[in-house]
Amino acid sequence: MRYEAPDSVEGAVALLSAATGEVRVLAGGTDLLVQMRADVVDPELIVDIKKIAETRAVSEEKGGWRIGAAVTGAELKEHARLKKAWPGVVEAANLIGSTQVQGRATLGGNLCNGSPAADSVPALIAAGAVATLAGPQGRRDLPVEDVMLGPRKLALRKGEIVVSFLLPPRAPRSSDAYLRFIPRTEMDIAVVGAGVSLTLDGSGTISAARVSLGAVAARVLLVAEAAQAVIGSRLDEAAQRRLEAAARAVCRPIDDKRGTIEFRTDVAAVLTRRAALIALDRARTS
C-alpha cells in the first residue's frame, strides 16, 4: 500500500489520475482507517491531501466563507467569526464523533464518505454551499446537494478531489441551525438530521429559506417544498404545520433497528420544525 502526501492540488490530481488500482483520498481518516481496519477497503494508493494549503484554510471570499476540505471540526469550532455567520454548519460538523474525532474529522471527508446520515452535509446543503472540485480537466464547482448520488456513490470523476467549500455571503437577519436525532446524547450516527437556513426581511417575515434532510433517503435531500412552505411567513403555527407536512412528504427512509420508517418520518418533521425555530431565533438576533 502506497502513501503519498503531495503539497499541491495538481500533485494530488496527477497521482489519483494515474492510479490503476483502488485509491482513497485521506483527509481526517476517521472513516477511511476504520474501513481499512475492517477490510472494507484495501487501497493500493492513499493520497493524503492535508499538506495542500488550500485544503487546510478558512478564509473570507466574496463576502462569504471558503472552508478547506481538510479543515477539522475542532478548527471550525474555534473560528469565532465563521461560527457567528454559520452556526448551523459549525454545530453540525461538531456533532461528528468525540473530541478526539473532532481533532481529525473534516467536511470533505464527511461528504466524500458518501453516507446519507453524514451530519455536516444537510447543514452545508441548507447553507447553499458549493463544493470546489479539482480534476484532470481542471476545476469545477458543484452544489453540495449534487456531489453525493447515493450511499458511497459520488459525482466525482476519476482523479477528482473536493478541494474546498464556499459558503455564500450572508444577508442581514440570516441564520441557520442543524439538529439530529440519535438514541443517546453523544457519539452516534444520525437516525434523522435536519438543516435549516433562513433570511428575514425588515419586518421579520421569512424572505429566503433552504431546508435539507439527512438519513431519510438514499442521499441527503434538499427539500424545496419545505422552504416554500415557510417563505412569506413568520413561522406561525400554520407555517410550522406546512413545514412539517413538506418534510414528512419527502421522506423515503430505510426501516432498521435504529429507526422504523414511521419513526424516521415523524422525527424528520419534528426536527425540521425545531431547527427552523432555532434558525429563526438566531436570525432575529443576528
Partner: protein
C-alpha cells in the same frame, strides 16, 4: 514497497522509525517505540484508550497513520509524569480512586490534560462532554469527573 522512514518528536524527544503504510500511530507507539501506555480498545475511534495529542490536538492514535506524523509533535501518557513525580491529574486519579482495571486510564489522563490546557476551570458539563469519547466500563465516570475537577483546582493554584 519500502517502509516509510519517519522523523518526529515524541514527548519532547526526537524519534525516528520505519513503518508500513497501513500501520497506525498506535501500532508504531506500542510495537516499534515500546511506548505501551497508549492502549488499543476498539481500534475504531470509539473508546479513546489510545488518546494522544498531535501538535497539541487530541486525537485517537488508532485513527492516524504512522506515516502521517513526520515532522509533527506527539505527546503520549508516558510524557505526563516528570520522572517519579506524578502529574496532578495522575495524583488525583489515585486519590479519587478514578480507576479500577486501568485500561482506559491513560486515554482519560491524556484527554483530561488536553481539556485543562484549554479550559483551566471546566464545569462538570464541559468535562463530561469533552470526555464523551473515552469509555470506562468500571468506574461509572463520577470519580473520574471529580478527579479532573480536583486536578484542575490544584493546577490553578500552580
Amino acid at each position: 514497497m519500502a517502509k516509510h522512514h519517519i522523523e518526529t518528536v515524541v514527548n519532547g524527544d526526537a524519534v525516528e522509525f520505519l513503518c508500513e503504510t497501513e500501520e497506525t500511530l498506535l501500532d508504531v507507539l506500542r510495537d516499534t517505540l515500546n511506548l505501551t501506555g497508549s492502549k488499543e480498545g476498539c481500534a475504531s475511534g470509539d473508546c479513546g484508550a489510545c488518546s494522544v495529542t498531535l501538535d497539541g490536538r487530541l486525537v485517537c492514535s488508532c485513527l492516524v497513520l504512522g506515516c502521517e506524523v513526520a515532522g509533527r509533535r506527539i505527546e503520549t501518557i508516558e510524557g505526563l509524569a516528570k520522572g517519579e513525580k506524578l502529574h496532578p491529574l495522575q495524583q488525583k486519579f489515585l486519590e479519587h480512586a478514578a480507576l479500577q482495571c486501568g485500561i482506559c486510564t491513560p486515554g482519560f489522563l491524556v484527554a483530561s490534560k488536553a481539556l485543562l490546557e484549554r479550559s483551566p476551570d471546566p464545569s462538570e458539563h464541559e468535562i463530561r462532554f469533552w470526555l464523551a469519547g473515552n469509555l470506562c466500563r468500571c468506574t461509572g465516570y463520577d470519580k473520574i469527573v471529580s478527579a479532573v475537577k480536583d486536578a484542575a483546582a490544584t493546577l490553578r493554584k500552580g
